[in-house]
């Protein structure tokens, strides 16, 4: 029987993949992808807790939808920043973006 801990383990694995991606990637867009994985892992956790702990309510799902909305805002802003950096300095690797003020 599939219980809560199974879902939590899958989410933990996904989260760690996201962490690895965020730490080790050169390309800024790959880092954004890692962040998306981490957010998805959190959403799986919320929905799993909702389903197994309080099935008569939908609070976990509501929170997950809030996170999805914030993630959409975050990606659009992040991509806009990456695009403008690429356009002005021709940079995509994060370790080259090492000066705050040009």
């Amino acid at each position: 029987m599939i219980g809560l801990s199974h879902y939590l383990l899958v989410a933990a694995a996904l989260f760690c993949i996201g962490v690895y991606s965020v730490i080790t990637k050169k390309n800024a867009i790959a880092v954004l992808m890692g962040i998306e994985f981490m957010l998805n892992a959190i959403n799986i956790n919320l929905v799993a807790f909702n389903h197994f702990m309080a099935p008569s309510q939908v609070i976990g799902q509501v929170f997950a939808i809030f996170i999805i909305g914030v993630a959409a805002a975050e990606v659009s802003l992040g991509l806009a920043i990456i695009l403008s950096l690429y356009r002005q300095r021709h940079l995509v690797a994060i370790d080259e973006m090492d000066i705050l003020k040009w």
């Binding site: 899958v10 993949i17 309080a54 799902q61 939808i65």
Partner: protein
């Protein structure tokens, strides 16, 4: 149910690993879309059908496509080597594995209370009520946040004169 859970989890983790391992950024982004589909499948197993649809609509239909778009607009050098790791590869690996070990241990050792499984309420209606009655302020704040994000993205991404 059990087969489906293992199927979706396997697809999710395989595609996520592929995303991280692949050195071609476009392949990474496409694999990521597959993993988002698998997440939607997990939501369906958890009886969150509305959330599964939102996941496909927002993550696959918008966010992942936006990321692919970003990859295509910021091309530099060969695409085959666009997703290389930096010099912290070992540190990252150790951190990720250590974190996973820690989380896995705490998850497997915790005894979660199991309340009686009740039938869930009608999904969409309950979510709508939660949004528009209980969390109305947060909901409005989210709307304002998205509006600001749109304006900010336009302002930052605009072609400099």
């Amino acid at each position: 149910m059990i087969i489906l859970f293992y199927l979706f989890s396997a697809i999710l983790l395989a595609f996520a690993l592929g995303t991280v391992i692949s050195t071609n950024l476009i392949h990474s982004a496409l694999l990521m879309m597959g993993s988002f589909f698998a997440v939607a499948g997990l939501y369906l197993l958890l009886q969150a059908d509305y959330l599964a649809m939102v996941q496909i609509l927002v993550y696959v239909g918008a966010i992942a496509i936006l990321l692919v778009f970003g990859v295509m607009l910021t091309r530099k050098g060969s695409i085959e080597e666009s997703n290389l790791p930096n010099r912290y590869k070992t540190i990252g690996l150790v951190t990720a594995l250590g974190l996973f070990g820690l989380l896995a241990r705490s998850i497997t050792y915790t005894r979660f209370p199991s309340p009686p499984l009740e039938s869930p309420p009608q999904n969409i209606i309950a979510i709508a009520q939660a949004f528009l009655l209980q969390y109305i302020v947060a909901f409005e704040a989210l709307g304002i946040l998205l509006l600001i994000a749109i304006l900010g993205a336009i302002l930052i991404g605009k072609e400099p004169k």
